[in-house]
C-alpha cells in the first residue's frame, strides 16, 4: 500500500538504505566506546542484506541507526532518499526484534493490527489485512489467542506479521530467530524467504549465524569489532530459489566457508570449523571473497 509513495523520489529510488560515513561513539563511564566507524553501505530495493559479526561489532547499532532508534555521531543515513527520522514517521520500514515484543493483553489479531490501528486504518480494512497476514504466517486459527498461549516460534511469527502489516518496502530485523530452536529456525527462514519474495521488500537482517545469513541473503556484510567496521561484503552466488535442498548444496557450503573466512579476517588458521563443514571448498571460495570488497 505504501509502494506508490516510495516510487516517487527520483535519484535514489533504487536504494532502500544508503549509509554514508557513519560513526557512532557511546559515552560510558570508562570513556568513549567506538561502536561504529566509517560505515558505508547501500541496500538496493528488494535486496536482502545480512549484517554478521562478533558480538560488540555494532551490527545491531547500525540497524538501530537505520531505524532512527539511535542517532549516528557522524555521517548520514538515507532511507528511500529521506532522512531516517522522516522514514520512521512515514512508516517506510517494519521492524522485528530478537524478542517478539507482543503486547500480552492483545490477541494475536490485535497485535498484528496494532500498527494499522495506530495509523488510523479503518476497522474493516484492518481486519482484512490482518487476516491476510495471519494466513501468510500460518496462524489464521490462532487469531483470537493471546501471546502467552503461543510457543516462542509462533510469537515470533506474529511479530513478523506485525512488521509486515503496513507493507513496508524495508524490513529491519534484529536477530529475529535468535531465541528459537534449530528446527523452528530453519522453518522460519524458509517462510521469511517466501514472504520476502511475495512482498518484494528490502531486508536488513542482523544475525550471528553464518548459515542463516548465507541461506537468506543476497549479500552478507561481515563486520569486525572494536571499532565496529565493515570488514568485507560477501555477495552470495546462490542463484535461483532458496529451497530446503539448498541447505545440502555444495555452493551453500562454499558460501558458508567464504563468510567464515571473512569473519576470521581471511586468516585460514581460524578454520577449526572450516575444516569440519566443507573441506576442500576453501580454494573454490577464495576468488568469490575478493570480488566485492567495499
Amino acid at each position: 500500500m505504501n509502494q506508490a509513495q516510495h516510487g516517487a523520489p527520483s535519484q535514489t529510488t533504487a536504494d532502500a538504505v544508503t549509509v554514508t560515513g557513519v560513526d557512532k561513539t557511546f559515552d560510558t563511564r570508562s570513556g568513549q566506546v567506538h561502536a561504529l566507524q566509517g560505515i558505508n553501505l547501500t541496500v538496493k530495493a528488494g535486496e536482502f542484506v545480512s549484517l554478521i559479526g562478533p558480538s560488540g561489532c555494532g551490527k545491531s547499532t547500525l540497524m538501530r541507526i537505520i531505524a532512527d532508534l539511535d542517532q549516528p555521531t557522524a555521517g548520514s543515513v538515507a532511507v528511500f532518499g529521506k532522512s531516517a527520522g522522516q522514514a520512521r514517521l512515514d512508516q517506510d520500514y517494519g521492524i522485528a526484534f530478537q524478542q517478539a515484543g507482543l503486547l500480552p493483553w492483545r490477541t494475536v489479531a490485535a497485535n498484528v493490527g496494532l500498527p494499522l490501528e495506530l495509523h488510523g486504518v479503518g476497522s474493516a480494512a484492518r481486519a482484512a489485512r490482518v487476516a491476510e497476514l495471519l494466513s501468510m504466517v500460518g496462524l489464521t486459527e490462532f487469531a483470537d489467542r493471546y501471546p502467552d498461549q503461543l510457543s516462542g516460534g509462533m510469537q515470533q511469527r506474529v511479530a513478523i506479521a506485525r512488521s509486515l502489516a503496513e507493507s513496508p518496502s524495508l524490513l529491519l530485523m534484529d536477530e529475529p530467530f535468535g531465541a528459537l530452536d534449530e528446527m523452528t529456525r530453519e522453518r522460519m527462514q524458509t517462510e521469511l524467504v517466501r514472504i520476502c519474495a511475495e512482498t518484494q521488500a528490502a531486508v536488513v537482517f542482523v544475525t550471528h549465524s553464518i548459515p542463516e545469513a548465507v541461506y537468506l541473503s543476497d549479500r552478507v556484510v561481515v563486520m569486525s569489532a572494536r571499532p565496529g567496521r565493515i570488514q568485507e561484503i560477501v555477495p552470495m552466488r546462490l542463484d535461483g530459489e532458496r529451497t530446503e535442498s539448498l541447505r545440502e548444496d555444495t555452493r551453500y557450503f562454499e558460501m558458508i566457508t567464504a563468510v567464515r573466512e571473512a569473519l576470521h579476517g581471511g586468516n585460514p588458521g581460524g578454520g577449526i570449523a572450516t575444516g569440519g563443514l566443507a573441506t576442500g571448498s576453501v580454494a573454490a571460495s577464495a576468488p568469490v571473497r575478493g570480488a566485492e570488497t567495499r
Binding site: Y93, F97, Q99, A100, L103, W105, L118, G138, G153, D181
Partner: protein, 359 residues
C-alpha cells in the same frame, strides 16, 4: 495443594476437571495444542530453545491451573472456613481453660481475662447482632444500625478513594513525564505518610470548617474523606508509577518506530501495561481509605459512621459486652466488600493481567 492440582492437570482430556467455563477453555487448549504439534508448528519446544521451553512450561502450568479450577476454588474456600473455625476454637478454648482473671506474671497480666465482660462468647456476639440496639420501643436490630453506619463510612471511604486515585495517578503521570519531578516529588510523597493521622485529623477539620466558597460549604464528612484520600493516594501513586514505567524497552521502541507521541504511547502501551501493578495498589488504597475514614471519624467525632458507633458501643461495653463487637464485625465486612469490589474490577481487566512469556 499444588501437587494435587498438578497431577489432576496432567490427566489428559477435557473431562479431567469439573465442567465450567474455564475448564472448557482448558480442554479446548489441550485439543488445539494436540493438533498444533503433529503439524509441526507448535515448535518442538524444550530442546535447546529457551523461549520455546518457557512457553511450553507456561502452557502446562496454565493447564494445571485451569483444569481443576472448580476443585481448587473449593479448596480455597475450605481453607478459609478452616481458618475462621480455628479462630473461633482458639477463642472459646482459651475462654474455657484459662483462669477467669487471665494469666498474671510478676504483677503483669500477660494474657487477658476470660470473663464474659472481657471475652464474650462468639455466639453471644452473633446473637447480639439480631437483638434491638437499645431497649427503647421499636428500636432497630443491631445489625441494621451497624449496617447503616458502615454504609456511611463506605460512601466517605469511596469518595476518599476516588480522590486518592485521581491524585495518585496524577502524581504518577507527572513523575513519569519528568524525571526531575520523580526525584523531587517521591521523597515528599514518602515523607507524607509518616505524619500521624490522628494528630492530623482535628487540624484538617478546623481548616475545613472555615472554607466557604459561594454556595459551597465545607462539610465535616469532607474532612474525613480528605483524610481517607490522604492514606489512599500513596500506594496508588507508587503502584501507578511502577506500572507506567513497566513496559520493556522493546515495547517503547516499537511505539517509537510507529512514530506515535508520548500521549498515545501512554494510552496504548503504558496504561494497559500498568494494570497488573495498579490493581494491588488500588486494593491497598481502598483498604487504607476505609481505615482512614474510620479513624478520622473517631478523631473528628463525625456522627453517623462506623467510627462513631465503634466508640459509642465501646463505652457501653461494661453493661453490654457483646454489643461492642457489632461494629467490629461491620468493619470486617466493610473491608471484605471493598476488597471484593477491587477483585471484581480485576475480573473485568483480566486480559490486561496476562504476562508476556518470553520478553
Amino acid at each position: 495443594m499444588t501437587t494435587g492440582a498438578e497431577t489432576e492437570g496432567l490427566r489428559p482430556g477435557p473431562e479431567a476437571g469439573p465442567p465450567g467455563l474455564d475448564t472448557a477453555a482448558g480442554g479446548l487448549l489441550d485439543q488445539r495444542s494436540g493438533v498444533e504439534n503433529p503439524a509441526g508448528r507448535g515448535n518442538p519446544a524444550g530442546r535447546g530453545n529457551p523461549a520455546g521451553r518457557v512457553a511450553r512450561n507456561e502452557r502446562i502450568e496454565t493447564k494445571a491451573r485451569q483444569t481443576p479450577r472448580g476443585a481448587r476454588e473449593l479448596q480455597v474456600w475450605a481453607y478459609g472456613a478452616l481458618g475462621l473455625a480455628a479462630i473461633v476454637i482458639v477463642w472459646e478454648l482459651y475462654k474455657l481453660l484459662a483462669p477467669a482473671d487471665g494469666v498474671v506474671i510478676g504483677g503483669l497480666r500477660v494474657l487477658p481475662r476470660t470473663t464474659d465482660l472481657a471475652m464474650p462468647h462468639i455466639w453471644d456476639m452473633l446473637a447480639r447482632l439480631f437483638e434491638p440496639v437499645t431497649r427503647a420501643e421499636g428500636a432497630a436490630p443491631l445489625w441494621a444500625a451497624v449496617g447503616a453506619g458502615a454504609l456511611v463510612t463506605l460512601g466517605i471511604a469511596a469518595v476518599g478513594w476516588l480522590v486518592g486515585l485521581v491524585v495518585g495517578v496524577g502524581l504518577a503521570l507527572v513523575m513519569l513525564r519528568w524525571r526531575l519531578a520523580e526525584w523531587g516529588l517521591l521523597p515528599w510523597i514518602i515523607l507524607s505518610q509518616t505524619v500521624p493521622l490522628i494528630a492530623f485529623a482535628p487540624i484538617v477539620r478546623s481548616w475545613g470548617s472555615k472554607i466557604q466558597i459561594g454556595g459551597f460549604e465545607w462539610a465535616d464528612w469532607m474532612s474525613v474523606a480528605l483524610i481517607a484520600s490522604y492514606l489512599a493516594f500513596f500506594p496508588i501513586a507508587i503502584g501507578a508509577l511502577r506500572g507506567l514505567q513497566s513496559p520493556d524497552v522493546i515495547h517503547t521502541e516499537l511505539m517509537r518506530s510507529y512514530g506515535i507521541g508520548w500521549w498515545r504511547t501512554l494510552v496504548k502501551l503504558r496504561v494497559p501495561a500498568s494494570v497488573p501493578y495498579l490493581l494491588p495498589a488500588l486494593r491497598l488504597g481502598a483498604a487504607n481509605a476505609v481505615i482512614g475514614a474510620v479513624v478520622a471519624e473517631v478523631s473528628t467525632g463525625l456522627q453517623g459512621g462506623l467510627g462513631r458507633i465503634l466508640i459509642q458501643y465501646a463505652g457501653q461495653a461494661s453493661g453490654d459486652p457483646a454489643k461492642a463487637w457489632g461494629p467490629i464485625f461491620g468493619a470486617i465486612v466493610l473491608g471484605l466488600v471493598v476488597a471484593g469490589s477491587i477483585a471484581l474490577l480485576g475480573v473485568f481487566l483480566k486480559n490486561y493481567r496476562r504476562v508476556e512469556v518470553n520478553a
